[in-house]
């Protein structure tokens, strides 16, 4: 056991203080393998050291919650003995380095998080943020990321049913690739990661281990100075074919009762999977590293423990069930190797060529992981901008065309046509609607799924922006008629060691927490990605929310396209004309952006519940929530989706541009054939609702504006993405 020197550059990202804690825990200097293990376990990624304090404040419970944060994915009850299991995860940095493989392995990783718990994945979502369209790398990154997400999901045969794509110069040096998977399991067949019990075999399955993605810190360490190319940490390459086999083999084995615990090997590979299983089960684990299937020659214990090779799982089986498991994995043409055993030592002991290579007590490795209360100072509030302070367009219709033809609001068809969104035969409708809907196989029920975040709001006011991210993701679910049940979240921020970034994180979490509480949508899983900055330029604060809801009969859902002529168009919710921080203000008016729209959570809940009930009662023929771009954009999207125009006869008592493009929250546009009943019930429920026009004709006519043909709207909406991607 040679000891590395303790120069700061040799600490693999640990601070001197953290290193001293390790000395206390071990009572000696760690060797290279041990230091590597501490370094990854105590990395921001695995230990959540900057965010943990705040994550604890999020509401995570409710009668619908079977498993909140802390396992591979969150689990909620969807009735009839079934559970939905879901989580979102980032693969930001790898996707910037190698967009195709980075995005692909991001999808692979989140799929494993879900099926490791016993669920068959039924839907993928993705939330993407790229730099300015004008930035020289953007097109290449979009192309690679979209192809990578499709490449993995299409091959494994899980439909990619929705997501979001945005562009902003703040992501020029740090794109965001957040992938979400939703799966379905029986409530009595959910698998956890606690390896309770001693003398149990620890079993490795899946692909062999190579030097993929080993901590870059390796490079700085003295022992590897004379390295050639061979030991360079390499980019992880995804193998969706192997993952498909792993998925089927795991589900087949899970149908037996041979498994005690199972955990995928994700970040920090064998290290975090073995430590977490042992720690949760209060046991020790001895691993024989010689038995780990290896893809490359001369791998060291350090490399084996830190490799992030994909498509691997670690399981603890009941004793004597190894052969049964092996038969299943062999049928699926996969490796299975018994690499260790649990014991009562509460230590992680690694054997290598007949000797002990590492020996670490597990409780302090897990519990002494640092947790920081990083300083922050609240983000200064921005001035509220009155509609009159935001320049009016010369022509409302032209402004609308500019907006729906812009990079952030145009059709995402170019993206989702590269994803198989129908495989598994349960995708209700096509992408492009509000929440995506996936039927629960063999039943009438469907899950409704959406992802959302409006980073410019979070930047303007982290607390309101955090609330808004939850509110918007949530709002998409009642828009189709489903009841939101729970959320997952991906907190993407810059460097938390800077006060103003930490303030964004704290504020966003506070806002999210309040919203989840008020909307009865507890957080059941999530992921944190910090240090998204380049040369001191941080990304916009981007807490992405994924919301999952349920509808009892998918046939009672509605879409967001106008369905017939002569329907009454009703706006649900209050339109005050909030233009501060709006897309209109940003793209067409300029000037300082002002405060983002406030979120009234009580109103949000009341309006959403009302709309959902009205849909289920059959009063609504189409529904669309109002978000970026305001009412005008929402109406245009409904016209495009339905291929039917509309005459809007509202007489707003606010400036027309504020009425058309203001981004007030908690609003929906619905169409009804019997408006009186709807309006009557709305009044009774105290929900603001106003008939504002009628569907029909070949054009959309906004108040005081010239008609725009639906054909023109559709053309303009469709054009930007394919043209941008085809140009260079």
């Amino acid at each position: 056991m040679s000891s590395p020197a303790t120069r700061p550059e040799d600490l693999m990202g640990l601070t001197k203080g953290e290193y001293d804690t390790i000395l206390d825990i071990l009572g000696r200097e760690p060797n290279l393998t041990e230091l590597g293990i501490f370094s990854v376990m105590w990395s921001e990624h695995c230990s959540y050291k900057s965010s943990k304090l705040w994550l604890k404040t999020l509401p995570t419970e409710g009668p619908q919650v079977i498993q909140g944060p802390g396992e591979n994915a969150g689990v909620i009850d969807i009735g009839d003995g079934l559970a939905a299991i879901f989580k979102i995860e980032s693969h930001n940095h790898p996707s910037f380095i190698e967009p195709y493989q980075g995005a692909a392995t991001g999808v692979g990783g989140i799929l494993r998080d879900v099926f490791t718990m016993g669920a068959r994945p039924v839907a993928n979502m993705n939330a993407l943020r790229f730099g300015s369209p004008d930035h020289p790398k953007t097109r290449h990154l979009v192309d690679g990321v979209v192809a990578g997400i499709g490449g993995y999901g299409n091959c494994i045969g899980v439909p990619t049913v929705g997501g979001e794509v945005n562009f902003d110069p703040a992501y020029n040096g740090n794109i965001l690739v957040n992938a979400m998977t939703v799966g379905i399991a029986s409530t009595d067949k959910i698998f956890y990661s606690a390896a309770a019990g001693v003398g149990l075999p620890v079993v490795y399955v899946g692909s062999k281990t190579g030097r993929d993605g080993i901590h870059g810190a390796t490079m700085a360490s003295a022992e590897f100075d004379d390295d050639s190319d061979e030991k360079r940490p390499t980019v992880q390459v995804g193998d969706p074919f192997t993952e498909k086999l792993l998925l089927e083999a795991c589900l087949e084995l899970m149908a037996t009762d041979a498994i005690v615990a199972i955990q995928d090997m994700g970040a920090a590979g064998l290290t975090s999977s073995s430590v977490e299983m042992a720690s949760k089960g209060n046991v020790g684990i001895t691993l024989s590293l010689d038995d780990v299937p290896q893809r490359e020659e001369n791998m060291t214990p350090y490399e084996l423990m830190l490799s992030e090779s994909q498509e691997r799982m670690l399981m603890v089986l009941k004793p004597g069930r190894e052969d049964e498991a092996r038969a299943i994995f062999e049928k699926w043409e996969l490796d299975l190797s018994v690499i260790g055993e649990t014991n009562d030592s509460q230590r992680l002991v690694l054997m290598w060529k007949g000797e002990i290579d590492a020996d670490i007590p597990i409780p302090p490795l897990v519990e002494a992981a640092p947790e920081y209360d990083r300083p922050w100072t609240a983000t200064p509030p921005r001035a509220v901008r009155e509609p009159s302070e935001v320049a009016e367009p010369t022509d409302i219709s032209e402004a609308l065309l500019t907006l729906i033809g812009s990079s952030d609001l145009c059709s995402r068809r170019w993206v989702w046509e590269q994803y198989d969104h129908m495989v598994m035969g349960d995708t209700v409708g096509r992408p492009g609607g509000d929440a995506a809907m996936v039927r629960v196989h063999g039943t009438k029920k469907a899950l409704a799924i959406s992802t959302d975040c409006t980073p410019r709001y979070v930047e303007g006011n982290p607390v309101e922006g955090g609330k808004q991210a939850v509110a918007e993701a949530w709002r998409n679910v009642p828009s189709v008629g489903a009841k939101p049940l729970a959320v997952t979240n991906n907190l993407n921020f810059g460097n938390p060691e800077r006060d103003e970034i930490m303030a964004q994180l704290v504020g966003a979490v506070q806002g999210m927490g309040a919203a989840c509480e008020a909307l009865d949508a507890p957080v059941v899983s999530g992921n944190v990605s910090l240090y998204n900055e380049t040369n001191g330029q941080a990304i916009l604060p981007t807490p992405v929310i994924g919301c999952v809801g349920l509808i009892d009969d998918a046939a009672s859902a509605v879409g967001n396209g106008f369905t017939a002529e002569g329907q009454t168009i009703i706006i649900v919710g209050q339109t005050a004309g909030w233009l501060g921080c709006s897309i209109y203000q940003r793209d067409l008016a300029g000037g300082s952006n002002g405060a983002p729209p406030p979120v009234d959570l009580v109103t949000e809940r009341r309006n959403g519940d009302f709309v959902r009930t009205a849909i289920l009662d059959g009063l609504v023929s189409a529904c669309h929530d109002v978000s970026d771009g305001g009412l005008a954009v929402a109406l245009a999207e409904m016209a495009i989706a339905g291929g039917i125009g509309a005459e809007i006869d509202a007489t707003p008592d606010i400036p027309t541009h504020a009425w058309a493009f203001g981004e007030d929250q908690a609003r929906y546009v619905v169409t009804c054939s019997d408006p009186d009943d709807f309006l009557h019930r709305a009044a009774a429920a105290g929900v603001p609702a106003e008939a504002t026009g009628t569907t029909g004709g070949p054009a959309l006519t906004l108040p005081g504006a010239k008609p725009i043909s639906v054909a023109n709207l559709r053309e303009t909406h469709a054009r930007w993405f394919p043209e941008y991607m085809a140009s260079r």
Partner: protein, 80 residues
């Protein structure tokens, strides 16, 4: 003039295709295969007639488009 370009995965980079082909060859009963790696072979017809210029230009094509230099190596030959 013709350029022949070989694009291969760097050492240590996982090659799922090679792995699957290897497996399939075994299934077909071919013994004695230790490893399979799959790369690309690109032939480019060029209209110029200066081999050095051609080599320089094709190398630039590799850097810019043909190879993903994060995970792939390339080799250019000019047949003149």
């Amino acid at each position: 003039m013709k350029a022949r370009v070989h694009i291969t995965l760097k050492n240590g980079v996982l090659d799922p295709q090679g792995k699957a082909i290897h497996h399939s060859l075994e299934g077909l009963g071919f013994d004695g295969v230790d490893d399979v790696r799959q790369g690309k072979f690109i032939e480019i017809e060029l209209s110029g007639n200066d081999p050095d210029a051609a080599r320089a230009s094709v190398s630039e094509m590799c850097e810019k488009l043909l190879a993903n230099t994060v995970i792939e190596n390339y080799a250019v030959e000019i047949d003149d």
